[in-house]
Symmetry: C2
């Protein structure tokens, strides 16, 4: 999707891909095969780039620092990526900057889990500090027994854990914000990220929150962008608890929570990211319609190819389908569907119907919103 934006602006993209059949490698001509966890591969790749940027965080951090010391321009910087890679570093940095975060504690042994549970009351959350996504690397611990079980299965893996208060959240939202090297920012409208089983299923814009809460979320995005000195896109994920906001986590790159911007905003997050990292003027983040709904396409349990339902999904002429060219696997994000409409109810319903045609199942999460 970044290549689509780069094409319009005549920005030549070079892609570091692990395999020639990676989804992005199927659509970008200039592909270097290599591993983002190999210092040698990163160095060879960066040699031909004016700016190095990221579409995930699974990159060797020490190698990034070496690239910067060798004079390569990285946006976001190695320091920002290091924070985005590490949930504990995020909590620490944001707490220090005065942003509201859930109560948390680094876990060096099971006694830290137990003490935190005693202190906060059970249940508590345990999270892998690095590498978790889509509900993986997150555990709800209902009591001491669960803490011991988790620790016994985890202590040998070398993965660091973080304990966190269990927050009785009402909903989750996100704010996408772009920041240029000089500090200029452009925040998008607040998006509600509807989750099921820890996986984002729907994006709803504008989020159904009071204007004051939306304004507070925008202000937090500005503070967060400044606190981690991001250059490029930052996705700030927030918990809404009553009229309070708590910072959940960040991604320092174009993010799934911003896929609605491709049609739903004047400037897509992908173009905005390119403009920010190239230090070009930012585009307008304004909404392109009163309501935008995006439904993620998660691979069906039967492993069907969403292309088999494409013509049916396209019978609704307003439906915008994005397929990522990934081989279908149950639960894998294979694409998304966006609908712009006069109301969120209509946009959700039409996007959900199209998603059902593509991957089966029901896609509009129940409940009054």
């Amino acid at each position: 999707m970044t290549h689509q934006a780069a094409t319009a602006l005549d920005v030549r993209l070079r892609l570091l891909a692990e395999r020639p059949d990676d989804a992005a490698a199927l659509v970008v001509p200039d592909v270097v095969i290599g591993s983002p966890r190999s210092a040698a591969d990163l160095e060879a790749f960066a040699a031909g780039c004016d700016v190095v940027t990221f579409d995930h965080e699974l990159v060797d951090g020490a190698a990034l620092e070496r690239l910067e010391r060798a004079g390569h321009r990285l946006h976001p910087t190695a320091a920002t990526v290091a924070i985005a890679q590490d949930k504990l570093a995020q909590r620490t940095r944001f707490a220090a900057a005065g942003l509201p975060v859930p109560a948390f504690r680094a876990v060096r042994g099971v006694e830290d889990l137990l003490a935190f549970g005693d202190d906060q009351g059970w249940p508590i959350m345990a999270k892998a500090v690095r590498g978790g996504y889509d509900g993986r690397g997150v555990w709800r611990l209902d009591g001491e027994r669960a803490a011991f079980d988790l620790w016994s299965s985890f202590a040998h893996t070398g993965v660091d854990l973080l304990a966190e208060a269990h927050v009785p959240l009402d909903r989750e939202i996100a704010v996408l914000i772009a920041r240029r090297p000089g500090g200029e920012v452009a925040p998008y409208a607040v998006v509600e990220t509807v989750q099921r089983d820890g996986i984002c299923r729907e994006l709803l814009v504008p989020a159904a929150i009071p204007p004051a809460v939306a304004a507070a979320a925008g202000a937090l995005a500005r503070q967060a962008a400044e606190a981690v000195a991001v250059v490029g896109l930052l996705a700030l994920e927030l918990f809404v608890v009553g009229d309070r906001l708590l910072v959940n986590e960040i991604a320092a790159r174009p993010h799934n929570s911003g896929h609605w911007t491709i049609e739903g905003a004047v400037t897509s997050q992908f173009e905005q990211h390119l403009r920010a990292i190239l230090d070009w003027p930012l585009g307008a983040p304004d909404l392109a319609a009163p309501a935008v709904a995006t439904v993620n396409l998660l691979g069906a349990a039967d492993g069907r190819d969403p292309r088999s339902g494409l013509t049916l999904a396209l019978t609704d002429p307003a439906v915008r389908v994005h397929l990522y060219g990934k081989s279908p696997r149950p639960g894998r994000k294979l694409g998304h569907v966006t609908v712009l409409a006069g109301s969120l109810a209509e946009a959700r319903s039409r996007a959900g119907t199209a998603a059902t045609h593509l991957v089966g199942g029901h896609h509009v999460v129940q409940g009054e919103r």
Copy 2:
């Protein structure tokens, strides 16, 4: 631009390019180097394609017919491409189908020009039947002397000529329409194509014409699509003379007059073309804003690279820039700029300012509209 649309729908595009540095070859991974005027190259290329389509008409027509006889699927078909390649064939076909066309006559010798001028009154227009574009291959003949001069410079070239009445046109408009193999069509709103020196400079949507004229233009587009049995996009260019419409010419592919649809319509002409040739349901062609203006970026006389003015152009956050990656040459179409706004005056003004930043000059053609 077709690759951008194909990427979203997971349609794998294979490109036949004459040179590895052709603009499209810079952004599409699967490129076959060859000539669209070589039967052997076309055959080798078509062997790997489910559907063969076109982004220009400079293709060997006999080779296309052979491909179809060998069982390849061409959309548009060889017969439709043959008409789109030939202005005389267009006039003949549309006149036979009852569409309004300027008076015309095939030219086999200078006596045909003279007889046509005597019959219609001077001036008359002479046009190359094949290969003209952007004002090339079109001559206004003010009298017999001009007719003799043109013939003496042209008779030896083997290019066929067509004589046509000089039409006192008020403006030029176009209608983009997509047609599926079964005949289903989706026409876009009428676009005014503002010309200077035979080159389209601006696209304005909606065109400043009475609703009845717009409706008549839409009806002509449906008739024209049927008359040439197009599959895919058809651009129908029309002259407006008072409240009368005359068919100028067609393109049977995504066309410059449809570049405004990328942001200005729910479905871009590029996606719509893919959907039509794949016989998928067509997308909504509806306008995405009250007014859309697109300004073509023609290479400046000083040969400057439009990228040198890009950051200045982007200071207007609503401006959408499309650069084609072509090497700059005076007069060459190097890209376009689109602005969506509440009024056409505002959209034109902002797009024109951005175009001036990119290629210099003045881009909003003067005159009351």
